[in-house]
Symmetry: C2
Subunit: 251 residues, 2 copies
DNA sequence: ATTTCTATGTCGGGA
DNA sequence: TCCCGACGTAGAAAT
């Protein structure tokens, strides 16, 4: 896994190291160094000199991590070109993206460590409890929402977006269901309202709107009532479900 | 900056290393290893064995990086407790968060490298071009949006959310301005529409709605026209601005 | 602690 | 490519 490493490299060594390993797209490159970083593109930012960890992954996306938080201080999700140079005796790495036009510039003021790690490619993570999973589970068994409900469409595209579940209730009324995997906010209520209005234009009958989520904020609940819409509690990860229990068990 | 390192450690060595350096909140810990990762909390995920880079920052947030993308495969933004143990001869790191209740479990199957890096704390990055900056700039000089516009409120809270700019035009009509720092979508149009409707309830006069953004998607533009709302082009980073030019210049 | 909103959001999917 | 919406969004600010 460890392909190469370099401690306290001088600029020439570091630049050679980077040039060399940037050619290999099976390896992740890392430099721990005092850096100055500059970004221009969708916005612009400048970071004063400080200690940072620079990661360049197999897919050549770049991220610069400071000592705090999950988010990098600077990053570039996709790079079209990475170039290195030596300016004023310091190694400069330039990560460019063409569309949108963005540049991240990293000056290595005092590199302490450079690493190249060979990353074998591997299966990604399997996620349980996503909205898509909730949706197909509810489409299979809509009685969780309400007895007698019949699902007509999953992900029905309407002009203003996509209706998560389109159904018919026991009395034959059409039902629009908006699904949220986390606590529902006012935004979700408005989204549901839009869909109900849109569907109402197209069918003569009354259209019900149901917001299905594990919980809802107080302002959202008030808004929901005012608009004559309904809330149904639905959990993403049913605690008692035997199948899910097995998936969740670990160690 | 390099505090300690360990290559191909055995489980006891790795565990001692982690225990030792987890005490020091001025250092960032890193382990490159074949791992199996498991998360339960807001959702649940399991990652098959593969090569990963595990970062534990000064603030004890944890992130596990795969070979692709800016986003970690698994992470924990805030940890209340990090524990290590040896199970079946393998080091297991458990990062817990109490609220919401979340656990990330990392099993180090074949650690190749463990590092501890001392990160001096440092100034954060200075960002230019945020929506907040745009807003205050426009509040100072609303003529950019329209000559004769007078801003009455910045961030005016309405029941359905916050109006970015609330103003009055030359003819005395009230104007609701919705601001977007990036390309405006249909969602932004609906948001503006909601605000205009809400404000219309409270004032007798006609209320104008302006969407101010650097650009707008085609469907959003169509929707905007249909609702009788307006679009004004506003860039977050004015290209010709001398001050900004200097900030943007680099290397 | 809860709610809301921004973000260089990132990422994936669909037309 | 553009466009849209989910996300374990993260993180900050206001309540």
């Amino acid at each position: 896994m460890l392909k190469a490493n370099l401690t306290n490299p001088n600029p020439e060594q570091l630049r050679t190291f980077l040039t060399e390993h940037l050619k290999d797209d099976t390896c992740l490159i890392q430099v721990a160094s005092e850096c100055a970083i500059n970004y221009t593109g969708r916005a612009a930012s400048t970071a004063q000199a400080g200690d940072y960890l620079v990661l360049i992954k197999n897919d050549r996306c770049v991220q610069v991590h400071g000592p705090k938080g999950v988010k990098p201080v600077n990053w570039q999700p996709k790079t079209n070109r990475i170039t290195t140079s030596i300016e004023d005796g310091l190694v400069v790495l330039k990560a460019e993206r063409y569309s949108p036009k963005e540049i991240v510039n990293i000056i290595f003021l005092e590199p302490a460590l450079a690493l190249a790690l060979t990353f074998r490619d591997h299966k990604g993570a399997v996620l349980t409890g996503s909205e898509a999973q909730m949706r197909s589970a509810l489409a299979r068994d809509p009685s969780v929402i309400e007895p007698g409900l019949i699902v007509l469409h999953e992900e029905l595209p309407v002009k203003v977006g996509g209706v998560d579940l389109y159904a018919r209730d026991q009395q034959g009324r059409f039902v629009v269901v908006e699904l949220k995997r986390a606590k529902a906010t006012q935004e979700a209520v408005h989204q549901l309202h839009r869909y109900v209005q849109e569907v109402s234009k197209r069918v003569p009958q009354e259209v019900r709107g149901i917001l299905a989520a594990p919980s809802i904020t107080n302002p959202a609940m008030a808004q929901l009532n005012m608009l004559g819409l309904e809330f149904v509690k639905v959990t993403a990860l049913p605690a008692g479900d035997e199948e899910n229990k097995q998936v969740s068990l670990f160690g």
